[in-house]
């Protein structure tokens, strides 16, 4: 029984350490990648995964070893899981509409053709068409 609880503690600590390593990896990507869009890819996805690993490890430790089920921690996990990709998407959209250039070795830009089509059909560019208001 003693070894089992030691093993459980060890695996939970390893889960937390792996989450922290994912966070460090996302910071590395944030430093090294060449472009806003590639950087936000690093900062959003792997940081979310790392934080989810850390929070899940803390939740499991509280549940198994201290006998406290923390609903607030579950709520935090769900909140981070939902809002972090949304924030990354908003940031990327704002960067594109502000005109931040892509990396000069990028080969494809689908949003560019979509926005120019929108301009040719008469609606104003960089803005949603007026018959579909963005927020009601």
């Amino acid at each position: 029984m003693e070894t089992m609880s030691k093993l459980g503690e060890l695996s939970i600590a390893l889960l937390i350490l792996i989450g922290a390593l994912f966070c460090a990896l996302s910071a590395f990507g944030l430093i090294r990648l060449p472009d806003v869009y590639l950087r936000s890819h690093a900062a959003t996805k792997s940081a979310t995964l790392g934080v989810l690993c850390v929070l899940a490890g803390v939740f499991l430790y509280f549940m198994f070893f201290l006998d406290q089920v923390s609903v607030k921690l579950l709520l935090g996990i769900a909140f981070v899981f939902i809002t972090s990709p949304i924030a990354g998407h908003l940031n990327g959209r704002a960067a594109y509409r502000q005109g931040v250039p892509l990396w000069d070795k990028s080969v494809r830009d689908d949003l560019q053709s979509a926005l120019t089509e929108e301009t040719q059909t008469g609606t104003q560019t960089l803005r949603p068409p007026p018959n579909e208001p963005e927020s009601k």
Partner: protein
């Protein structure tokens, strides 16, 4: 044993915050800085969670929720600001957009 591993993960998370701080100071565009601020907030949330576990207390779990909410609202407000120039809009005036 677990306390050593938790301290190591705190050190790794601090390194991650430092890396984001470099991008926050240097980043060529505003969107870089916003993305790195978002990453710093997310990493701080993990730091607070690990501290909760180190001290074996649930007292700081509310802090996790507050940091998460503030990070999301801050990123949204900054993104709207650099996209449109305003954060809150009235809804009926067209030239403010």
């Amino acid at each position: 044993m677990i306390d050593h591993l938790l301290t190591a993960s705190l050190a790794v998370l601090s390194l991650a915050v430092l890396g984001c701080l470099y991008r926050l100071l240097k980043g060529p565009s505003m969107a870089d800085r916003i993305a790195s601020l978002d990453a710093i907030g997310i990493n701080l949330l993990a730091v607070v969670a690990v501290l909760c576990l180190l001290f074996r207390t649930q007292a700081y779990i509310d802090t996790i929720l507050v940091i998460g909410i503030l990070t999301f609202i801050g990123t949204t407000a900054f993104a709207r600001y650099i996209e449109r120039g305003v954060v809150l809009e009235d809804g009926d005036d067209e030239q403010a957009r």
